[in-house]
């Protein structure tokens, strides 16, 4: 008796649990709650749809009638002549700065934190510092950009009329802004590399750098790429720091071509700044122009985002499949 009683009990409990699990979705209170929670996601989806519908709808007249023309024209004072050429050019160069500076430095710092750091005070200081930097509002990075970079370029290596408010200053500012995010996401990807892989490398007499270069980085590459693409996308959408760095709203004093290096030392604008410019203009005529500029920025930014997410999903399922 003493033996059988608990067994019967366990059976009953198991049954109850199973019944509970299976009927989980059928309980009215449960269903209500579930749909309420689902509703919040639905709301986000709805907002996104309205936003995209609204913007695409507003921009349609321009995108359908003069898409290429719109890409090729700079800022103008008449809506039917305005385009986004100067903004795209600035955004392109900003992207170059982020990729060339913030990616290698950020990944290097992440390697330091995950592989080389000894756990001493220096490491802890850097760790805390990076997490705090990631939380600094973007507009504050603009202050750094204005005092340091604009101050540096003023009367130096740049067009004298630009007073240091040049593409290079904007690019450096956004490279600095994206640095902490690049570090944090890369460090996460490196942390996910199994320890056994490192041990395998050290076990055959590899130095730390040999292990990192040959085994850790290749394994972490998809994760690092995902993180860096996301931070690039974020940087390209930033407007506030560029306003402080003195991006121009209106006609530029620069006539450099799209890939012309001269642009680095000249006045600049960028896609988000052009959007701000067009959005602040009075009159309904500017709405399609603004919306079209937004569609183009979204194509760029969400394009990078989508690439990052697809990349991650692909490698996740590939690794799981193994």
């Amino acid at each position: 008796m003493a033996l059988t009683a608990p067994i019967v009990d366990a059976d009953k409990t198991a049954e109850r649990v199973r019944a509970r699990i299976e009927s989980g979705g059928r309980d009215p209170k449960d269903i209500g709650f579930r749909w309420l929670m689902f509703g919040t996601l639905l709301f986000s989806l709805l907002v996104l749809s309205v936003l995209i519908y609204d913007v695409v709808g507003d921009s349609w007249s321009i995108l359908s009638e003069r898409f290429m023309d719109f890409l090729a024209r700079p800022s103008r004072s008449r809506p039917d002549e305005a385009g986004v050429f100067t903004g795209l050019r600035g955004t392109f160069w900003i992207g170059v700065f982020v990729i060339v500076l913030s990616f290698p430095i950020g990944i290097g710092a992440a390697i330091y934190l995950e592989e080389y750091a000894s756990g001493g005070w220096f490491t802890r200081l850097i760790d805390v510092n990076i997490r705090n930097l990631a939380g600094v509002p973007s507009v504050v990075y603009g202050i750094l950009g204005f005092t340091i970079f604009v101050g540096f370029f003023n009367q130096r290596f740049s067009d004298a009329n630009a007073f240091g408010k040049v593409t290079a200053a904007g690019g450096l500012t956004l490279a600095v802004l994206s640095l902490p995010i690049v570090i944090i996401t890369s460090a996460e990807a490196i942390r996910a590399v199994p320890q056994s892989l490192r041990e395998a490398g050290y076990g055959v007499g590899a130095t730390k750098w040999e292990v990192v270069r040959n085994h850790v980085l290749p394994y972490a590459a998809p994760g690092i790429l995902t993180g860096t693409l996301l931070s690039l996308a974020r940087a390209l959408g930033e407007a506030a720091p560029l306003i402080l760095v003195g991006a121009i709203r209106g006609k530029l004093g620069s006539d450099a071509g799209f890939f012309d290096l001269r642009q680095l030392g000249e006045q600049f604008t960028a896609m988000p700044i052009m959007i701000t410019e067009y959005a602040s203009k009075p009159g309904e005529d500017w709405v399609p122009v603004t919306a079209a500029a937004i569609v183009i920025l979204l194509l760029v930014v969400l394009g990078f985002n989508a690439a990052a997410v697809l990349l991650r999903n692909r490698f996740e399922s590939k690794r799981e499949g193994k």
């Binding site: 936003l51 705090n132 202050i143």
Partner: protein, 324 residues
């Protein structure tokens, strides 16, 4: 006692490889150290310029005095009736209150919606459904704030706020707050979801084993267990909302050159961030330096506030890590 020594240098290794190792290590250390330089530069520029602004208030230069009506400038100009740098009126509470209003509105939107989305994703969604729905939040997170600013200006302002409140115009703190709220939903959702997913399954199973509904398990077991992470999510989002610039700059309608003190979300207004952006984008080259430098003072206040919030949030995040 042991075998005879064959070669003392047997294990000395390759000096070239060792040097390379050292060099590479040093490069990475410098890369990490650069982040310290960034912090120093941020703090340095804020302290230097904000300091010179405060110095000007205590010891006003001639050109600044010339802009005032009564020819007087003192620290009390930081607490007057309005924010109007051009006239040496630097009432910081005008900006602070506007920032707080926008943040409260934003969190009223992002808090419940972000949390709800997190609960659904963490507790209800099957892996497949999660994979389909999670990108919705990721796309929303990827939308640049200037785009949401335009949306708040063009759509939320006229279609939502002005429709609901007769006294509100197309631009208002409320419209900006709603826009900022949309912007922070993904942030709240992703940190909250992480917190809830780090609650061990054993707790859920134990709860289900006692015959609890999923609803009960979610609200009575998982949420309390994840509370540190949820608090962290809320604080991080608050910090982000206070620091958000473009939505407010476009949709709140405050002119940086003068903003009146207001407690009403239906009014136009300038937050700290919007005031900084307007100040910096002023095309007016004749503005005196003292007025321009107010931007850095506001920046310093903003920096201190967000840093404090982030440090507090970090504490809570760490508590989550320690628990499980």
């Amino acid at each position: 006692m042991t075998a005879p020594v064959l070669d003392q240098n047997l294990l000395a290794g390759n000096p070239k490889r060792r040097n390379k190792e050292k060099t590479v290590g040093a490069i990475f250390t410098v890369a990490a150290g650069l982040s310290l330089v960034v912090s120093l530069l941020i703090v340095g520029s804020l302290v230097f310029k904000a300091g010179s602004f405060l110095g000007d208030l205590i010891n006003p230069p001639e050109d600044a005095l010339a802009e005032t009506r009564d020819g007087m400038i003192s620290l009390s100009n930081l607490w007057s009736e309005q924010w109007a740098p051009r006239f040496m009126q630097f009432d910081i509470k005008t900006l602070l209150v506007a920032s707080i209003i926008v943040t409260i509105v934003a969190m009223a939107v992002a808090g419940p919606i972000g949390l709800g989305a997190a609960i659904y994703l963490s507790e209800y969604a099957s892996p497949r459904v999660r994979r389909i729905l999670k990108p919705v939040l990721e796309v929303l997170a990827g939308i640049p704030s200037v785009v949401l600013g335009f949306f708040a200006l063009r759509w939320i302002g006229p279609n939502v706020v002005a429709n609901m409140f007769e006294s509100a115009g197309n631009q208002s703190l409320l419209a900006a707050g709603l826009g900022v709220g949309l912007l922070t939903i993904p942030l709240v959702a992703s940190i909250s979801e992480d917190a809830m997913r780090s609650v061990p399954n054993a707790l859920r199973e134990a709860s289900a084993g006692l015959g609890a509904r999923k609803f009960t398990t979610s609200t009575k077991i998982v949420l309390p267990a994840a509370v540190s992470g949820l608090v962290a999510a809320f604080i991080v989002a608050t910090s982000r909302a206070i620091g958000e610039t473009m939505v407010v700059f476009l949709a709140a309608g405050g002119s940086g050159n003068s903003a009146q003190f207001t407690l009403s979300p239906l009014d136009r207004g300038a937050t700290m961030t919007a005031a900084m952006a307007s100040q910096a984008s002023g095309t007016d080259g004749t503005i005196v330096e003292t007025a321009f430098n107010s931007l850095f003072f506001v920046g310093a206040v903003l920096f201190v506030i967000t840093l404090t919030l982030n440090v507090i949030a970090d504490r809570f995040v760490r508590r989550v890590r320690q628990q499980y």
